[in-house]
Symmetry: C2
Subunit: 154 residues, 2 copies
Amino acid sequence: MTRWLDEDEQRTWRSFLGATQLINEALDRQLQRDAAMPHAYYVILVRLSEAPGRAMRMSELAARTGGSRSRLSHAVARLEERGWVRRERCPADGRGNLAVLTGDGRAALAAAAPGHVEEVRRALFDVLKPEQVRELDEICTAIIYAADGNTLEG
Amino acid sequence: MTRWLDEDEQRTWRSFLGATQLINEALDRQLQRDAAMPHAYYVILVRLSEAPGRAMRMSELAARTGGSRSRLSHAVARLEERGWVRRERCPADGRGNLAVLTGDGRAALAAAAPGHVEEVRRALFDVLKPEQVRELDEICTAIIYAADGNTLEG
DNA sequence: CCTGAGTATATGAGAGTTCAACTAAATTGA
DNA sequence: TCAATTTAGTTGAACTCTCATATACTCAGG
């Protein structure tokens, strides 16, 4: 009945789990140590910094960072306490909130970015041959495409 | 100074983050829904089930599951509450503890496994061409190898 | 034997995530 | 126009993880 994983698939799957776990841990450790924020918060700041007016609707921001609304609410609450983000009522839609990156938030991001990029290179890009980077891109794109399909179906 | 990511690298990096996040969420959702356990606990049960005598030292188990000792202590405490694992004093070393998989634990694992494997296939293997699976394996192996090197150096 | 250094694990507090309500505003439609 | 539904976002509780610390044991010297 069940299509169990064969030996090769087992090995690949465990490599995959191990590799992604190691990378996530490395990112979190580095950012926590050098910038006192978890990686998830860094991603939020990055997305906000790229938005026009450095502001974005909460839902939009949640979608772009790949997290739930609840998670984003809690996260933005913490970021607000630190003065890195502020909330504004959305003028067009009374239900909506805008998350706005503050000057302090931009500064925190600018301070954190170089060390973070360095870590990303060390953990991933420096380790792979250029052709492997291309392959990885295609693989991840396929995974995302399929997952979106599944989500929409289910 | 900083070697920023170029456009291709940015895209690849974000695909990678998105893909791994989606897979982890899918695994956790499926296991939580169908077997009432997080993926991390499933991995612990699997590793235990593969050990001789279905028993392993806590440190060893922590290393094999790629987690910290503290995390494993907490996790095993929860698994013990459910009756899936029990702790035994290590005969050879009075400081050590053995985590032992119980009959109920084996049953829980057996019940969870088919759905989990199905989810792994759906999220990863069904999505990739055989040659991509091979490439992914090599990529992940390279990442792990490099990360271990870094850990030992730093 | 002891004492001190190192190892194995546990524990508690703090932080982040998830899930399930809950509030409030917009939209639909009779 | 007004109730029903949907959408946006928040909140609180339960759970997991991390970090620092504590406890218990081993081992090597003196």
